[in-house]
């Protein structure tokens, strides 16, 4: 909503109110100021009176004007075509400095002396009021030849752009904003008085009638008026331009101006085109389904109330008989009625749906007054009206409750004063109680907290003292809170290990997921209105996003890229789970003295080590996970706390080539599986343990996990741990390999003896011989 100070001043006296005060007042009452700007007019731009205007002898398009500027008469050459219609104009005299540092000097145009410039509005830094020069008239104030244009406060107006919240339809007009401002500034509203000076003797009922069919939940009022020599004065066009309302034809401008001023929804019809054969106008107002109301004439719909108007019947400048319509419909009724419907909504719909001014007589009177002034309007006596019976909304309010919600004692009398000033009806109901009657223009107010908001606005939040809330001690450390804390420590370990935290959208490109063999959300459950083709579905993996990030970093010449992300992914049933993903691409470390400038590339062992430094120990087994990113011979599933919960892999070379990135490793793990489990301590042995290496010869295709599983299945009490330490292969071994595993043998209850060690190794060897054909080397 854009307003101007001078325009507001028509309804509330703003004399002596500075722009700073206006800015603060608007903000404090909840009408947020987006911008506030005052127009200024350069010095030496004055009101000039055109005495004569003749064609330039040598240029068709130029006029030579003699212009009275008070103390002298200037000869000025003017190129604008409309100068011939002008009487008073804005003249920039020699020495004036116009915007963009355009200095007016004596000049010669095609041989004719010119001592100044006749200005268009935009040349003065004002908004564009139309083609050609700006023609002055008395709508801006009494015109005095030679007077500085900057002395007219209708011209040097202050434009204020307010950001209205969705509930404040009542402030979608100059009058509405003035009403709120008058309460905040404690200045009374100037009354609007309409007295017709120019009336047709005939009553409107003699030529037209209106009939309501069904229950009409709206107000409608019509006036019929003759008009002639329609013109729009400068003040109207200038103000409309200042508040960014597109200028149309003259009638349109007058109606836009009236609507912006009063907030009443106004439309005009070409009355002649509505006449029946007997010259009579018959209007039908019809209640349709869901509260929709149509207005028709000659069995033809001329308007859908609050939504649009039949273009063919809309009045134009050339029309001499106008049917002026003012309407009000409760926004809730309207919005519910047109919801889901495919109605063609015109620009007035916005105002109607937010709550237009219900005082439709005000709108009609204001526009009739404008037409009388600027189109010699002559109305028929009376109105054609359909009125709904509105039930007054009354709220019984306990003012102590208002104080409790605010947390500050607000006296009952203050509350009554504020509400009354805001246009609410208030009756004292004894004690702390009052009854509040809600004015119709505040359709947004339905309960005590709405009333409280009004009090808070006017009292000012900054006048409410902060008070800490006392609450009873209770433990709030729930499971989610602990999970957050765990997640934080996991993220910190990842950082300590050299990884950067990544955050990416949970969106992904469906065709990409499909192409690389990842699961996708069932199409019946997928996004209806994605924002872009490459973000058209929910992701089922974070790795794809991380690869995109790697690619981007490679293009920025990063050589060693380590990223992790904890985020949501969705399976084909759109069930959300959380994953922890890590990627490492390129050099294992940066070039340095210690690696003589030749750092290793990241490899499976060092990536796996980094991952375990973050999440803790895990076991790797044959990879069951399937997608195109997985390297078939350098990949594994991760067993963590005895559960299969993710996988780790080198990026498949084909994909690596497609992405044009260096060697890359990645892992994706279920976050929930990483959550710390409850631990019971096991006793620590006081006796010395023994390391014993076994060098086995086994088939080269036998994975270590087969050996490990076999040993583990023995469940030997004395064998407290074991791990591979060397692997060896040569031509002599043929299709076999040598694997050395280290056993750590220790007893909890006694010192080991030679035969204890012997029995453990032979148990292990026997088992491995049976399961894998292993022999000692």
């Amino acid at each position: 909503m854009i307003v101007t100070k001078n325009w507001l001043n028509e309804f509330v006296n703003l004399e002596g109110i500075s722009n700073e005060t206006l800015y603060e007042t608007f903000n404090s009452i909840g009408l947020e100021v987006d911008s506030i700007e005052r127009y200024t007019i350069p010095k030496k731009v004055v009101v000039g009176k055109i005495l004569s205007c003749e064609k330039h002898p040598d240029a068709d398009k130029l006029n030579v004007c003699q212009i009275d500027v008070g103390d002298k008469t200037l000869q000025i050459v003017c190129g604008a075509a409309n100068v011939v219609d002008a009487k008073f104009v804005a003249v920039a005299t020699v020495g004036a400095v116009l915007p963009d540092n355009f200095i007016i000097k004596d000049a010669k145009l095609r041989g004719v002396e010119s001592a100044g410039m006749v200005c268009a509005s935009s040349e003065l830094g004002l908004p564009d009021t139309g083609k050609g020069i700006m023609i002055l008239d008395e709508s801006i104030g009494t015109l005095e030849v030679g007077c500085e244009l900057g002395s007219y406060d209708t011209i040097t107006d202050t434009v204020i752009e307010l950001e209205l919240t969705a509930n404040r339809g009542d402030c979608l007009s100059i009058h509405g904003v003035a009403r709120d401002l008058s309460v905040a500034l404690e200045r009374e509203m100037k009354p609007f008085v309409y007295e017709s000076t120019h009336k047709e003797k005939l009553g409107v009922a003699r030529v037209a009638d209106i009939q309501a069919n069904g229950i009409i939940e709206a107000d409608l009022s019509y006036v019929l008026t003759h008009i002639e020599s329609l013109h729009t004065p400068l003040l109207l066009t200038l103000r409309l331009a200042m508040v960014n309302i597109a200028l149309g034809d003259k009638l349109e401008n007058i109606l836009s101006y009236a609507t912006h001023t009063t907030g009443v929804i106004l439309r005009a019809y070409s009355a002649t085109s509505l006449k029946d054969d007997d010259e009579r106008i018959r209007l039908q107002v019809n209640a349709q389904e869901r509260g929709i109301i149509t207005i028709s004439s000659q069995e033809k719909e001329i308007s859908l109330l609050g939504v649009n108007q039949n273009q063919e019947k809309q009045a134009k400048d050339k029309d001499s008989l106008l049917l002026l319509e003012a309407s009000y419909i409760h926004p809730d009724i309207l919005v519910n009625a047109v919801f889901d419907g495919s109605y063609n909504k015109d620009e007035l719909y916005y105002k109607t749906s937010r709550g237009s001014e219900p005082n439709i007589a005000f709108g009609l009177e204001f526009s009739t007054l404008l037409l009388e002034k600027y189109a010699k309007g002559k109305c028929y006596e009376g109105y054609l009206t359909v009125e709904n019976e509105w039930e007054e909304l009354r709220l019984g309010i306990d003012t102590d409750e208002i104080s409790a919600i605010i947390g500050k004692e607000i006296s009952k009398s203050t509350i009554i004063t504020i509400l009354t000033a805001l246009g609410f009806g208030v009756t004292n109901a004894g004690g702390s109680k009052i009854v509040v009657i809600i004015p119709r223009f505040r359709h947004d107010i339905t309960h005590i907290q709405d009333i409280t908001e009004e009090i808070v606005r006017i009292v000012g939040i900054n006048n409410i003292e902060s008070k800490p809330l006392a609450f009873i001690e209770s433990n709030k450390l729930n499971q989610t809170t602990s999970q957050y804390q765990f997640k934080k420590s996991l993220r910190q370990s990842a950082c300590a290990t050299g990884f950067y935290e990544n955050v990416s959208y949970i969106f992904c490109e469906r065709s990409k997921l499909e192409k690389y063999g990842f699961s996708t959300v069932n199409e019946k459950l997928d996004l209806t209105n994605p924002i872009a083709e490459d973000l058209n579905t929910l992701r089922s993996t974070i790795v794809l996003n991380l690869l995109d990030a790697i690619k981007r970093n490679v293009s920025y010449t990063q050589k060693s890229i380590a990223l992790f992300e904890i985020g949501a992914v969705f399976n084909s049933f759109r069930v959300q789970t959380e994953k922890f993903a890590m990627v490492f691409s390129g050099q294992n470390e940066l070039e340095s003295i210690s690696n003589s400038g030749k750092p290793n590339k990241i490899d499976f062992a060092s990536f796996t080590k980094r991952v375990s430094m973050v999440i803790g120990e895990f076991e790797l087994v044959a990879c069951r996970e399937v997608n195109d990113f997985i390297h078939p011979y350098q990949s594994a599933d991760i067993i963590f706390n005895g559960k299969r919960c993710g996988y780790i892999s080198k990026l498949h070379p084909t994909i690596q080539e497609q992405y044009n990135i260096p060697d890359t490793f990645f892992t994706e793990i279920d976050f929930d599986a990483l959550l710390p489990k409850h631990i019971n301590a096991t006793p620590i042995s006081k006796f010395q343990g023994v390391y014993k290496d076994l060098s086995l010869v086994i088939d080269e295709s036998t994975p270590y996990s087969a050996i490990s599983d076999a040993i583990s299945s023995l469940d030997i009490e004395l064998l407290s741990s074991y791990y591979p330490v060397d692997i060896y292969q040569d031509t002599q071994l043929g299709t076999q390999k040598s694997l050395t595993i280290r056993l750590f043998i220790q007893s909890i209850s006694k010192t080991l003896e030679e035969n204890d060690i012997e029995s453990v190794t032979s148990l292990v060897l026997d088992k491995l011989n049976k399961t894998s054909g292993a022999t000692l080397r």
Partner: protein, 329 residues
């Protein structure tokens, strides 16, 4: 004394050891002297022995002192040999860094956990009831224009704020409630200042009717903003949200220009950082609460992160660009 000079001039531990053996060894010079003792007559014997012991002690002392000196010289030489140019090794290993948005979220959560709020989370895929209807946002509500929503083919939607978590919490438990819900939220908006996904932290406090007031809300949010931004001015402006009434927007004095007006604050001297209000009775009605009072607030984490760390471009936060991330190490 020649021998003393010899000790003092010894240039290595080996040389000193040689002298020591010559002096104190079984066949050393001192042993020879002591052997003479048995031939010295009674009265002089004592004086001779005393003189000899004194000499022995003096020599022993000289040897010990020299030994200490030569030993420390040897260690020094050994250390010198191991000398490296340590400056070559600055910043060999690099720590990673938390994402500025996540780190900011941590900081926010820390505050509210310290203020005895419980953390709650909920699903990103929501339904109309939890995301809109129960929050006093019926289908026809004009405020729904404010939010561009991602919908799914089955009618589900991506939550446009974390408020549905509050609804779910209220439906599951009884007051008193004191929670924050941090998480990703989604709006169909993509330009310089909007990304389709961003992060919010919302808070909710509910207790018996008449106990929770606007003044309480003002108190905690003012304290919170001082914790986050330090010594700033805090301003509350009345505003409108469908789920709170009265509602306010909270501004801090611009941290870039100290309130003088600059590009970041659009020359107003203020930065909008929070929305808040007293919970609308219609919200309580939707979850079946009677006779309660409560406040709620919400903030965008990206906005906080960008302000606190002076990140110029919102979209750069979602690109995994290490050049940006490494600045937060």
């Amino acid at each position: 004394m020649k021998i003393l000079k010899k000790i003092q001039e010894a240039s290595s531990l080996e040389e000193l050891e040689g002298i020591r053996i010559k002096l104190f060894g079984k066949k050393g010079a001192l042993a020879g002297e002591f052997a003479k003792l048995k031939d010295i007559p009674g009265p002089e014997k004592k004086a001779f022995a005393e003189g000899l012991n004194k000499k022995k002690a003096m020599l022993q002392n000289a040897v010990d002192e020299k030994y200490e000196f030569l030993k420390s010289q040897e260690i020094e030489a050994m250390l010198k040999k191991e000398a490296i140019d340590v400056s070559l090794y600055s910043s060999l290993g690099k720590k990673g860094a938390l994402h500025p948005v996540m780190e900011t979220m941590d900081k926010i959560i820390d505050y509210f956990v310290a203020m005895n709020f419980a953390v709650k989370d909920g699903p990103m895929v929501e339904d109309d009831f939890h995301n809109f209807e129960a929050l006093n946002l019926p289908k026809s509500h004009p405020a729904r224009d404010m939010q561009d929503t991602f919908y799914f083919n089955d009618g589900g939607l991506l939550r446009t704020h974390t408020s549905p978590v509050q609804i779910r919490t209220m439906l599951k438990t009884k007051p008193p409630i004191r929670i924050i819900s941090p998480g990703s939220v989604f709006r169909r908006d993509y330009d310089l200042t909007h990304t389709p996904m961003f992060h919010q932290v919302e808070g909710l406090v509910v207790d018996e009717s008449g106990t929770v007031s606007f003044a309480n809300l003002k108190s905690i949010l003012t304290d919170f903003l001082h914790y986050m931004f330090g010594d700033v001015e805090v301003r509350f402006r009345p505003s409108f949200f469908p789920f709170t009434e009265p509602s306010a927007e909270v501004d801090i004095s611009c941290i870039f220009c100290a309130g003088d007006g600059c590009r970041v604050c659009s020359h107003t001297g203020w930065l909008e950082v929070l929305g808040c209000g007293i919970v609308d009775p219609n919200v309580f009605k939707a979850v079946g609460y009677d006779d309660v009072s409560g406040y709620a607030f919400g903030l965008g984490v990206e906005r906080f992160a960008m302000l606190m760390h002076k990140v110029p471009d919102l979209r750069s936060l979602f690109e995994g660009d290490i050049r940006l991330l490494e600045q937060f190490r």
